[in-house]
Amino acid sequence: MHLIHSSVRMDYLGPVAEGSIILPRVATTICAGFPSPADDWIEDDIDLQKILVTNRAATFMWRVQGHSMRDAGIFDGDVVLIDRSLSPKDGDVVAVSVNGEVSLKVFRRNGQLEFANKDMPAWPMHENADIQVWGVVTYCLHIPRA
């Protein structure tokens, strides 16, 4: 059961493997005879790893549980990449540890943290809570299929 008023829950999945996830940018077929007129325009394949992970040592994958980040496009069951080497900027989605519990929040310049779900009441930031920014969310992997 998910409590709609609570922060998302986070489960650490693991590190990002070394290596590459290569997707061909163009599909070419082998043809005997006339050389392909496209050959001069061939570009490198797209390396998803390079796009998604800029700092491997500092990047961690977590699975998100809950609905409090819905308006930021992060849904229940999504996987987020979190880079600990980045300093949060106003409007960034950050993983924060609140009294030891890791969850996602929107970071505001004045140090405020917010839910991203307009159907929820404002996140109550307690003055004495031990709050530490754990890392900045750089990508969210969402599976759109039913």
Partner: protein, 194 residues
């Protein structure tokens, strides 16, 4: 050839296995934590809080079970997949600071700092320490010396003297003499029993 005399750093993770667990659960931050060996045989990593309770390295679990329960010690079975992964990350950061990194164990690496100007070595070590901490969450100590044994000794001094901020540089001879007078002989790596 370098213009400077040879210099090594020994950097290691503080209570490494326990620190790995703490990265993902900050509730463990101010409580005693220990990690047990395979099949939960004995303590192989202890935080400062656990050491303060008198839990010894290698102490069998059955002998300290009651003590741990009575004092709220958080006890973990070892999770080597996690510790290995965190170790890789830490070494990846070391490689940004030193051209040659020799991985000595899962939580200790020797770094060749010969090419770093002597006056800036401690500063580089402090910068590295804070980068490792921010990127990976692992607290480290760095010892610097003209040999690996002295780097190891410097690391030991950095650990035992929190006022040093986790970095001790023994490349300077006068500084080295000053510290070595305070260290018992058997605390030196490779001397004495175990």
């Amino acid at each position: 050839m370098s213009a400077f005399p040879r210099s090594y750093a020994l950097s290691d993770g503080n209570s490494f296995y326990c620190s790995c667990e703490r990265v993902f659960d900050h509730k463990l931050n101010h409580v005693p934590v220990i990690v047990l060996s395979n099949n939960d045989g004995c303590a192989i990593a202890r935080t400062a809080e656990a050491k303060a309770l008198g839990i010894k390295m290698g102490e069998p679990w059955f002998m300290m079970r009651d003590l741990c329960r009575a004092n709220g010690v958080r006890v973990f079975s070892s999770n080597y997949a996690l510790y290995g992964s965190m170790s890789n990350r830490v070494n990846e950061v070391y490689r940004l600071f030193a051209p040659r990194v020799e991985i000595y164990s899962i939580d200790e690496s020797f770094l060749d700092l010969t090419d770093v100007a002597p006056k800036t070595r401690a500063e580089l070590a402090r910068d590295m320490r804070s980068t490792v901490g921010r990127w990976t969450g692992i607290p480290t100590c760095v010892g610097i010396g003209p040999t690996k044994t002295l780097a190891k000794l410097a690391n030991h001094i950095a650990k035992k003297n929190p006022e040093l901020g986790g970095v001790c540089d023994l490349t300077d001879e006068a500084e080295r003499d000053r510290w070595m007078r305070k260290v018992k002989l058997e605390e030196v790596w490779g001397i004495g029993a175990l």
